[in-house]
Amino acid sequence: MIIEISHFFTILATGLFLLSGIFAVSIKNTEYVSNLISRTYTHAFLFLLISFSLYVWLAATDNFSVLYIASHSNSDLPIFYKISSIWSAHEGSMFLWIVFLALWGYLFNFNITQANPIKSLAIGIMSLIIVGFLLFLLLTSNPFQTILPIPPSNGADINPVLQDPALVIHPPTLYLGYVGFGIPFACALAFLIRGNTEIEWELMVQKWSVVAWIFLTIGITLGSWWAYYELGWGGYWFWDPVENVALMPWLAATAFIHSLSVSIKSKRLRVWTLLLSILVFSLSLFGAFIVRSGIIDSVHSFANDPERGLYLLGFISVIIITSLVLFVIRFSKIQSMIRIKRFSKESFISINNIFFGVLVFSVMLGVIYPLIYEYLFNQKISVGAPFYTAIFSPIVLVACIFLIFSIDSKWSREFKFNLMNLPIIFSTTLSIFITFVFIFLYEIDDIYINLLIFVGFLIIFRYIFEIYKLISAKKYINPFSAMAHMALGLLLISISLNSVLSSERAMSIKIDETESYKDLTIYFQNINLSEAYNYDSIEADLLVQTTNGESFLLSPEKRRYFTRGQITTETAIHASLLRDIYMTIGDQLDDGSWVVNIQINYLIRWIWFSAILMCMAGIMLIFSKKRLRR
């Protein structure tokens, strides 16, 4: 019964969203109409929220007459996994996705004053987008479908690999990020429709965009961290197509945020900013399409159904083409007649936009090239890490060199290079020195790696000097940008060093035996067999000693879950500031020894720490009282 109520409320919400959208685009905007739109939207959102809450309640109380819940949950699961089972597959996660989209719209509706000239139109556009997705949900992937009259007595269980705290929050965070860019998109579209260049939509959406960017960054970082400790491969990024479709909006969004700050400060690059806002949201939608159409076979992708793919493709096409046609129509009007001065801050940011654009294009190519290739030549291929490394290393390197020069540049003013000033000379020598120390200490012979380490340190030192100047001479610098860019420097250094220093070895070892690897001595103490409520496990105890006297116990584990018979690896990780000792256990061999894989991963924590630092910069910007405008 509750499921029908939940279903009904979603249908009701769809109708109300449609109404709000129709009001916004068809009736002349008066105060009365804009209040009406605002209220209709609020009610529609509340209905959707009630519907979703009921659905969550059904999942939490094991209502297996609902097909989706029966297929993805199980009464033995702890309550939070019952709830998170909602977003473990297509229908439920789509539902959550839409609720989040509507939630952003609701908060926007709540926060922006009624007097804002494009508010009600933006809300209307949001409503129409939500309607499109709700219809997709109801028509092609209905989560409210029931198994009646006799429901199964228990559900099917969710994949144990996904029964993990990080994975409970990873998809929602990522979705919040994806759909958060619906706000800047809707505002950009409203701005284009109104066609009044006086409207400052950029300032309106800045904080919204940064918040969405933060969620997207956290979501991607969580996914990377989860893959690292859960999958047992020890990597933090696999260039999996589904990771790539999250990376593309992130790259575009980062460019967008940069471009946005220029448009706010000096009304330049407005064309770029508009185009990027359309690109970011289109890429988010594209991500949903790729994951949900089954066009790509991946660890993450949901079940195949061509009908879903066609609906999504059609709807996305309408959104993208409409917005681009509008963009082209208004192009001449928005185009700034003021030329951008050479070597001004604006010029550097527009170069930055181009670099980000190239990166997005390359990742896109890596994702779709195998599809085209198979279609044309009937031959399966895949694009792996070497391609991305070959593209990212040089582009990121050159982009960072521009970044270093941009530190001294000024807004709207030409900038004369003076390479002979103290901070530049000092930080450059220091970075060269440190890089050489690394080269000799670790015998790194990869030229890109060395250059990236150098550039990473240079960025950090340059900003340290700037911060020093800020404190001593009261020269203004943007603290958020300084922090985010220093985090980028740190990210480059950690990724580079991680890729050259990390190593692994698979060894076969018997109980009571000792093996050594690099500076580690590994003693195999014993093996324990045990049983928990929904799995049994084999756990090995290995005592690891380093040459400098440190010793610790690592207990990698293998689990076999009863419900699906699936085997999972529980890695054992000894984390320290500098490196992780990462251990997994394999099978037992005929002579009684066990295969144990040991990895030494350098600076891996610093990679995630850099990402968190970037987010912190964003969070500080959100909470800063200062209006980011001259």
Binding site: L67, A70, S71, I147, I150, P152, G155, A156, L275, S282, F289, S293, G294, I295, A303, N304, P306, E307, G309, L310, L313, I316, S317, I320, I321, L324, V325, F327, V328, F331, S332, I368, L371, I372, Y375
Partner: protein
């Protein structure tokens, strides 16, 4: 220059989207379907009711072989459509896959039995020879030859698009 830019901005995404349209509507749009012909493998198993059954027992002119199990939720979804097909007079043979006999019999009692008989393949040996990778899967068998195979849930759309063309072509049922 401006015109070129405008043109470029519009045409690139349209090309992209069109390409995805082509990819999606490719002939093989049902990834679970294949039409490789193979002889029905030789086997010797028991039915759920304990009778011996071998490949020569499958001597119908045409029948549908459905791989199912009581632990499979998708089979539960597919079940009502199989009941419907059975009512339409289409003979369906069940292949109970890696399932405890008791569970399987209870399942059929509880939800209804669309099958004319059920092969109990506890170890999945026959399923392996057939190339089954999970449940549910459905095979169309004509005179002891597999002519169509679908992995996943059979519903009205799949029936119409994957099986009916062959059935019409061969004039069976």
């Amino acid at each position: 220059m401006k015109l070129l830019f405008k043109f470029f901005i519009l045409i690139t995404p349209i090309l992209f989207l069109f390409m995805f349209y082509l990819l999606l509507t490719e002939d093989n749009s049902y990834p679970g379907a294949d039409y490789d012909t193979q002889n029905f493998p030789i086997f010797e198993l028991e039915t759920l009711s304990g009778k011996k059954i071998v490949n020569t027992n499958i001597n119908d002119k045409a029948l549908l072989l459905n791989v199912w199990a009581s632990w499979c939720i998708t089979c539960r979804v597919e079940h009502s459509y199989l009941m419907y097909l059975n009512k339409q007079g289409i003979p369906i043979l069940g292949l109970n896959y890696k399932d405890e006999k008791e569970d399987a019999i209870n399942w059929l009692k509880k939800y209804g039995n669309p099958y004319k008989d059920n092969i109990h393949d506890y170890k999945g040996s026959l399923a392996l020879d057939l190339g089954v990778t999970g449940a549910p899967e459905t095979f169309l068998i004509i005179n002891g030859q597999v002519v169509a195979h679908y992995q996943g849930e059979v519903n009205e759309t799949i029936w119409n698009d994957v099986f009916l063309p062959i059935i019409d072509e061969k004039r069976i049922f």
